[in-house]
Symmetry: C2
Subunit: 482 residues, 2 copies
């Protein structure tokens, strides 16, 4: 595990026992909701609610204070009125607790009095050697360790995205979003006000986490710029880091300050830091996860020369325009490659780049033979393919051809699956990244088949192209550092 | 109907009878597929397949040539080998057909020989006074008239978006996309190579179409710049026009040329044309329909001073950052307004702009009382609200509170619906635009309830903010022209 067991963040994300302040018999209290998430996750160790009056919380015996527990506690979760938090943290320290998640808000983000309270918390944590997350955070989710202290229940399997976020919402409210896209978190950490544990710490930890293939950062500020760059540079040699930074504008920076007391800086400053750290910047939450999706599922491109393959002119032109705007390069294929494609397509097609078939003469050519020809050209570093294979249309065609409603539908389903598997095989054999896009919904079987074959399916040509460009930027940064 | 019945495009989109070339007993032939779409739409008038050998196509008697039909034909749809198209168009002219959709490709977009053939088609159409759409197009969809000549079946109801597109795919492949978003086309026209009928003609027509509330344009070029600006300026006084232009980059322009023979121009040139015409520019297909969604469903803002309402800091900061980047202004609410909000929120909240509740003390405050207070401030032109009310969570809470699985679930469903209806009422009463965003999927009941109440729910804060900014830009352009 690269020694991450010795990191304070490891004890936060891998507790063997948890004590909860703020969970009670009131099921809608924030503390009760977070404790429910932990229990629903199937956490294996003991969970101790600490409550002044309630004697049982969610079927677990509750304790008046920590010393009543009479067993070791690894992690304390504090969901308390602001004024009470420091004393409870001190109680944790005195009882040997080594990790604490302070969910409670109202600290540095609320002005001077809150800042003083927060400083007291830091002093207590330092005194006892407690790894403290927050305050004003939602804690952690670690599906493999069956830990989740967030607001929503985590109901999907573990994924490859390791996230550190200055917004708890952008962790917990994305659980379903990721599940719908066949993605998930390896671990995710909501850092809140970062009084003690900050994004740079998380970056170092996630860089060493063997289950994290790509790191996502939601940032409103970076508190230790030099350390961030140093740690990012080290982590980005091992895996891609995608950051969504919202503090670069006047309004964004001011909202960030109200949110987590963050002092934001200009876009130029942050772009410089990201460049030095090999961090790829995303422009929205959707884009951050698009980039993670592609970077986690596909090999890195050797360069920035891609081919756009389409059977529809509009999506092809839109992809080409987006490519120019985001710095994705269009490959110049060899004469031989162009000749081999030309032999397979109708006379209305254009075989430059985009390769636009206008329509498929033979469906297998589009999803197999032509991608194979394109990817075998040394001048090509990867492929974007626009796909639309809706089940209803395929079934209708096969039923019309065969005259057999049941048999035709089954044949259509097999055909669609076969096409997707063929593309996935071609992509895998090439060792080059292949990304698809469609406007069809994710419940379409072809989307599921392509994802099952490892090919990310993004919801528009523009977004797919931007993700490929991001992959090329990361690959270039990584080569630059090597 | 503002005299649109006299327009050539009216005869194209409202035929009483249709003749089809290229439909045959081969169900996968392009012509057969397009004729299927027309029949599946429930077209009421006669449909005449014209075929040299087949005697029956899709249950309709087929004819060797047009003169054999022996009844008037309003619209001809040509899906033929390129070389045959001119003679068939001439046959149409001789037999009194007044409108023709030429689906056939291989004309100006394929070089000099194709260009000459296209010119011949234009001469024939002019000679007989035929309103010709295309070549290299997919025709029209007009749900109210039960007309659809496109590749996909149109299975949803008519909507308020009137579209003219230089890509047929961006009409037909968006049917399901729009349906999933509770949207639809009033009419949509795929113009292809625009040999005779171009986007400016469509713009004039859709500007006068009473069922079209907002016009969407997908553009790779504008062939008659002055006419386009004149017609756009006139139409944009009546309704918003949203254009997605992809020809402004080297790669986009070159792909556009291969696609429809379009000579694209620089972004600066097109931005100037759009400004003069009061056209709002979108940067992707998704964004084009986001803008249409908001512009068609909500009143126009009086100015550019919006409020961001959230209970989660991250989405609020992301919205504020996006607002600055896209030119959406943040309102300065009055002291009185701020005081009234302050009285309703927890001490962790911030009541500036974004208004961030951090959590809901009373759910009704978030969806009703606070929006009402905000929208009643004269300094506020509209509201963005971040919403997350997943059914599973609401049911779980209510079941926990009531201890009654069935009754609790029903109460939760009623609660969610009531909240959404309250927000919709507040929004409608204010006369100001309100747009919501969520990362939850569209199948969530709260998304459906909000949409049913007329409130657009976009899939991210950033996209909602950009759409509100677009509405403010359009409102300013309209005021500027008045």
């Amino acid at each position: 595990m690269n020694g991450i067991e010795n990191s304070g963040l490891y004890s936060l994300t891998h507790p063997r026992s948890v004590a909860f302040w703020g969970a009670s018999t009131n099921p809608t209290a924030m503390g009760s909701v977070l404790m429910s998430s932990l229990l629903a996750m199937g956490f294996q160790g003991p969970v101790y609610p600490i409550h002044p009056r309630d004697r049982e919380v969610k079927g677990r015996p509750a304790f008046k204070c920590l010393s009543d527990v009479g067993a070791p506690v690894d992690l304390a979760v504090l969901v308390l009125p602001t004024q009470l938090a420091p004393d409870v943290l001190d109680e944790c320290g005195r009882n040997g607790v080594k990790a604490a998640i302070v969910v409670t808000a109202g600290f540095a983000e609320k002005g001077d009095e809150g800042r003083r309270l927060q400083e007291r918390m830091v002093a207590i944590a330092r005194k006892y050697g407690i790894t403290m997350l927050g305050p004003n955070c939602l804690g952690v989710v670690n599906p493999d360790a069956k830990v989740n202290t967030m607001f929503m229940q985590y109901e999907t399997s573990a994924g490859f995205i390791g996230m550190a976020s200055q917004s708890g919402s952008f962790v917990t409210q994305m659980f379903d979003y990721l599940q719908e896209r066949d993605l998930g978190f390896s671990q995710a950490i909501s850092v809140g006000n970062e009084a003690l544990t900050d994004v740079a710490d998380c970056l170092e930890y996630l860089g060493n986490c063997p289950k994290t293939k790509v790191i996502a950062l939601y940032l409103e500020t970076v508190r230790r710029g030099r350390d961030f760059v140093r740690v990012a540079r080290e982590a980005s040699q091992k895996k891609p880091i995608v950051a969504y930074y919202v503090g670069g504008t006047r309004a964004g920076g001011s909202a960030a300050f109200s949110h987590t007391g963050a002092m934001a800086g200009s876009d130029e400053l942050y772009d410089g830091m990201f460049r030095q750290g090999g961090v790829i910047r995303a422009c929205s939450v959707e884009e951050m996860f698009d980039f993670c999706h592609v970077l986690g599922r596909q090999p890195l491109p050797q360069g920035n020369r891609f081919v756009i393959l389409t059977h529809s002119g509009g999506p092809g032109a839109a992809a080409a325009d987006a490519a120019d705007r985001c710095g994705m390069g269009l490959a110049q294929m060899s004469r031989e490659t162009l000749g081999r494609i030309e032999a397979l397509v109708p006379h209305t097609a254009s075989v430059g780049n985009p390769v636009d078939l206008t329509f498929n003469r033979t469906p297998a050519d589009y999803m197999q033979t032509i991608p194979e020809i394109i990817l075998s050209d040394d001048a090509v570093d990867g492929l974007f393919i626009y796909v639309i294979l809706p089940q209803s249309r395929a079934r209708k065609s096969f039923i019309e051809i065969t005259g057999d409603p049941q048999g035709g539908a089954a044949m259509a389903d097999q055909f669609v699956e076969g096409q997707c598997q063929a593309l996935a095989r071609v992509a895998a054999a090439s060792g080059k990244p292949v990304v698809a896009a469609t406007f069809c919904g994710r419940s379409e079987p072809f989307v599921q088949h392509l994802e099952a074959g490892g090919i990310p399916v993004l919801p528009s040509p523009e977004r797919a192209v931007r993700a490929l460009a991001a992959a090329a930027r990361y690959a270039a940064a990584k080569r630059g550092f090597a």
